[in-house]
């Protein structure tokens, strides 16, 4: 999954219509529904393409998400814990993905294991918000970040293969 395919992968996913953040009550519920639908669609498509690369679940109100993501480099699977929160000003503020295990192991990351997306993803989000959601963020931010960073980290021996 390369950066050049970024817009392709975005195009495969439908945009989200409801504009609401976690503080917006029923409106947020509506949005969350849409988020879930798109997410399911995305996962389903990944499965169909034999390209499943993450698992997530949320808390009840859908503001905190946890799960795993993995990347296969040279036939070796590297798996990491994934977590993120929906910011209060969502969807005008983009989601910040966290890979706590990699905290301090690469400089392309903020403190607390938040991956650095300023250059590629932030402008994209600004361009399409509020139409983009969680699935879009996973597809266009975390996916490319893993593809770019993990091979480097794996070569450096910073990350270890999962079992």
């Amino acid at each position: 999954m390369e950066f050049s395919n970024l817009s392709d992968s975005l195009e495969k996913l439908p945009f989200i219509k409801t504009v609401a953040g976690p503080l917006d009550g029923d409106q947020w519920i509506e949005r969350l529904k849409e988020e879930y639908t798109v997410l399911i669609q995305y996962i389903q498509a990944n499965k169909d393409d034999d390209h499943d690369w993450f698992e997530i679940e949320s808390n009840e109100d859908g503001t905190k998400w946890t799960g795993k993501c993995w990347y296969i480099h040279n036939f070796i699977k590297y798996e990491f814990d994934l977590q993120f929160e929906i910011p209060a000003t969502y969807p005008s503020t983009p989601i910040e993905m966290e890979l706590p295990e990699l905290d301090g192991k690469t400089h392309k990351m903020y403190r607390g294991g938040k991956i650095c997306l300023d250059i590629h993803f932030a402008p994209l989000w600004q361009k399409y918000q509020p139409k983009l959601g969680i699935a879009h963020a996973l597809s266009a931010a975390l996916g490319p970040w893993l593809a770019a960073e993990i091979p480097v980290l794996a070569e450096q021996g910073v990350v270890k293969p999962s079992s």
Partner: protein, 760 residues
């Protein structure tokens, strides 16, 4: 919220499901797997240029073959990458494999299949049927293929792809009918030819390939369809050869000779071979420019024979055909005129007899000229002089621009002044008989009426004869000159020799005289029973005579003998006379050299005499000489009493002349020589003259004889004492060094007195 929970459940379910493609490998994995396989060398694949596809070699070959077929059997290798999207390197490698495996040709980077060649052959078939002749070069330009490839392809398919009877000749392909038509054409052309013509010219004019034309011509000649031959690229029709032979024969039969140049005009390359072939080998003679028949030569020979017998001359211009040139006439004369000479004009031939007659005419005048020249002091040259002069004269000729100018009148007069200055004997000899003189003598001679100065005289013959005679006449003159010179110098030599002969006679007689005196001494001593002492005394005396008097006499005798035998001493390697610097006989080697030139028995006499001398055997020498003197031709008288007396008187006079009181009293007197002379004289007076030299041993012998052997009668004691003293003084003079002047002056007076006493 219910809906949310439902969605959460759905999410979980989706995440747990395996997806539609769960059992299939996705593209990414496939790429990885293939890459792994490639790395392990388990499979070999070719990438397309866009990287989207893999190909196996077999697939690539198959695709290339398909592409070749699609493009009609001819495909540029460079086009393949754009069609198949594969790199050119890979394509080239694959093409090489294909060409190896299949019946395909790779020509100039193009793949060409059999199908394409078949297509070409179809077109060739059509063109051939249309034109009958096809030049392969046309095909190369048309199909842009190499000639060799086209030729090879055609040769392979000749039988089944082209019309029957097609021929590939050189670079042209032609049908049977066309070839036949061409043969007919050539036959027509060559039958029409009447003179030699170059095949290349026919080829250009009638547009037939030259090689083809040559082959056809050869074949036609072989089949006797045309008559003629090919020679140096020319076709020579038989009619032309017949014409040449006919013309040659006709001319020859008419004139009995034929000129090579005429044959050249008839385009005969080698006239001599041609004549041998047409006329025959031995029917005539080859001259420089003509061939002349034998009977013609014989006819001329007959006339020449006539003048040889008559001793006259012949004007060839009436006999020899007018076109004959100088060289031909010279050749002809070489054949017919053994005893004749051709004059420089190449017109007249003169018999040797006639020349001899002319030379005879000049003998008297030559001799007169020679005598005149000798009187002027000219001498014949020696060989060396001649050689150096030859070199000089050749140099001169070289400088003067060469040629025979010297022979001509004008040049001689012009150069006269010069030649007077640096006159050489040779020049003088050559100048002595000029052409003018020859002409004058001939025209005034009664033996040569035909050369009288009348209008009827053949002036041309006269001039050339004079020119011709110039050289032999001068040669003859030289011979006469040398002869005359020799005759005159013989007279001089004879007088010289006579003196020498006289000297020899005198010397011989003196020797005989001395020999007799010695015999006398022997007798005296034998009477006194002193034979042994005689031997002791006579041995050194005889040895001395062998070294001196006898040797001189024999040398002179050798020279006298040389004169009688006409041996030229100047031609032998001999000693030089210190005075005259002429060759003379001075020692045993000279004698040997000269004696070798004598008759054998004379040589033997001289060698024997020489041997006696070198062995110091005086007695045998004298006997040998006395026995043989008559055989030597020298008129030498043996001694008799009269001669002996004459010799004795002469010797006595000579000796006495030398012993005068003045000489003794002179301050520069030589005691020793004077004493020896006195002693010799006293012995002569006593009848035992030994002619001994001024040496101590001689002095001792002589005083010994005088004192002890009673040779001199009335010898008193006083005289004996004087003699003894004189001998002592002699030794004193011998051993006293010239520096010891005191002693010499001391004994000077005494010895002078002693000498005066002795001659009293």
């Amino acid at each position: 919220m219910q809906a949310i929970l439902e969605l959460q459940r759905q999410l979980k379910a989706v995440q747990q499901s395996k997806g539609a493609q769960a059992n299939k490998l996705n593209e990414r994995n496939v790429v990885d797997i293939i890459r792994k396989l490639l790395e392990d060398n388990k499979i070999k694949l070719i990438y397309t240029q866009d990287g989207k596809e893999y190909l196996t070699n077999e697939q690539l070959e198959k695709e290339i073959k398909e592409l070749l077929q699609e493009s009609g059997g001819r495909l540029s290798v460079l086009e393949i990458p754009s069609h198949l999207g594969v790199n050119i390197d890979v394509v080239e490698r694959s093409v090489d494999q294909i060409v190896k495996k299949n019946k395909l040709n790779l020509i100039n980077g193009q793949l060409i299949s059999e199908i394409y060649i078949d297509l070409i052959m179809e077109e060739v078939y059509e063109m051939l049927s249309d034109k009958g002749l096809l030049v392969l070069q046309e095909l190369t330009t048309k199909y842009n293929l190499p000639l060799d490839f086209i030729k090879e392809s055609i040769q392979h398919r000749m039988e089944y792809s082209l019309p029957q009877g097609c021929q590939l000749q050189g670079n042209s392909l032609m049908t049977k009918t066309f070839a036949e038509r061409q043969v007919c054409k050539v036959r027509g052309i060559l039958r029409g030819v009447t003179r030699p013509v170059a095949l290349s010219a026919i080829a250009t004019q009638f547009k037939v390939e030259e090689q083809k034309l040559k082959n056809i011509t050869d074949q036609l000649i072989k089949e006797s369809q045309i008559k003629g031959k090919i020679q140096q690229g020319l076709f020579i029709p038989q009619a032309f050869t017949q014409m040449q032979e006919g013309a040659c024969r006709a001319f020859y039969q008419q004139n009995r000779y034929i000129e090579y140049q005429m044959l050249s005009k008839l385009q005969v390359q080698k006239p001599r071979e041609f004549i041998e072939q047409v006329i025959g080998k031995d029917k005539g003679n080859f001259l420089a420019n003509f061939y002349i028949s034998k009977d013609f030569v014989q006819q001329i020979e007959g006339q020449v024979q006539e003048i040889v017998e008559n001793g006259s001359y012949l004007d060839l211009s009436h006999i020899v055909p007018s076109p004959f040139r100088d060289q031909d006439i010279q050749d002809l004369v070489n054949i017919v005129g053994d005893q004749c000479r051709l004059l420089s004009s190449n017109q007249h031939i003169v018999s040797e007899k006639f020349i001899q007659k002319c030379l005879e005419e000049f003998k008297v005048s030559s001799e007169q000229i020679a005598i005149k020249n000798i009187k002027k002091g000219i001498k014949p040259q020696t060989e060396e002089q001649k050689k150096t002069q030859q070199v000089q004269s050749t140099n001169k000729k070289g400088k003067g621009g060469g040629g025979k100018g010297g022979k001509k009148k004008g040049r001689q007069q012009d150069d006269n002044d010069e030649e007077v200055k640096e006159i050489t004997v040779e020049d003088q000899l050559q100048i002595n008989i000029t052409e003018d003189m020859i002409k004058e003598t001939l025209s005034s001679s009664s033996n040569f009426v035909e050369f009288k100065d009348t209008p009827n005289r053949d002036d041309y013959l006269f001039d050339t004869l004079a020119e011709f005679l110039h050289i032999p006449l001068n040669k003859q003159y030289q011979m006469i000159f040398i002869e005359v010179f020799a005759r005159q110098s013989t007279k001089q030599n004879a007088s010289v020799n006579k003196n020498l002969e006289q000297e020899v006679e005198e010397n011989f007689q003196t020797l005989q005289f001395m020999f007799k005196q010695l015999e006398l001494l022997r007798k005296i001593m034998t009477q006194n029973d002193k034979e042994k002492e005689f031997d002791v005394i006579s041995a050194p005396v005889k040895a001395h005579w062998c070294k001196t008097d006898a040797q001189v006499m024999l040398n002179k005798l050798t020279m006298v003998q040389a004169f009688y035998n006409n041996v030229d001493l100047n031609n032998l390697a001999l000693s030089k006379d210190p005075k005259t610097q002429q060759n003379t006989v001075l020692n045993a080697n000279d004698r040997k050299t000269v004696a070798k030139q004598f008759q054998k028995h004379v040589t033997a006499i001289f060698e024997q005499a020489g041997l006696y001398l070198s062995n110091k055997n005086f007695d045998d020498f004298m006997t040998h000489l006395s026995d043989n003197i008559k055989n030597l031709g020298a008129r030498i008288k043996q001694t008799d009493k009269k001669i002996e007396k004459k010799i004795k008187d002469q010797l006595s006079k000579e000796l006495k002349d030398q012993i005068t009181v003045d000489k003794i009293e002179s301050p520069l007197f030589d005691f020793r020589s004077l004493l020896i002379i006195i002693l010799n004289n006293r012995l002569l007076e006593s009848g035992v003259y030994l002619n001994l030299p001024n040496e101590e041993w001689a002095c001792k012998i002589m005083t010994n004889l005088l004192i002890n052997h009673g040779i001199e009668s009335n010898m008193d004691e006083k005289k004996k004492d004087d003699l003894v003293q004189a001998t002592q003084y002699y030794s004193l003079h011998c051993w006293t060094k010239s520096e010891d002047k005191e002693k010499i002056t001391e004994i000077k007076e005494q010895s002078q007195n002693l000498l005066l006493e002795l001659i009293k």
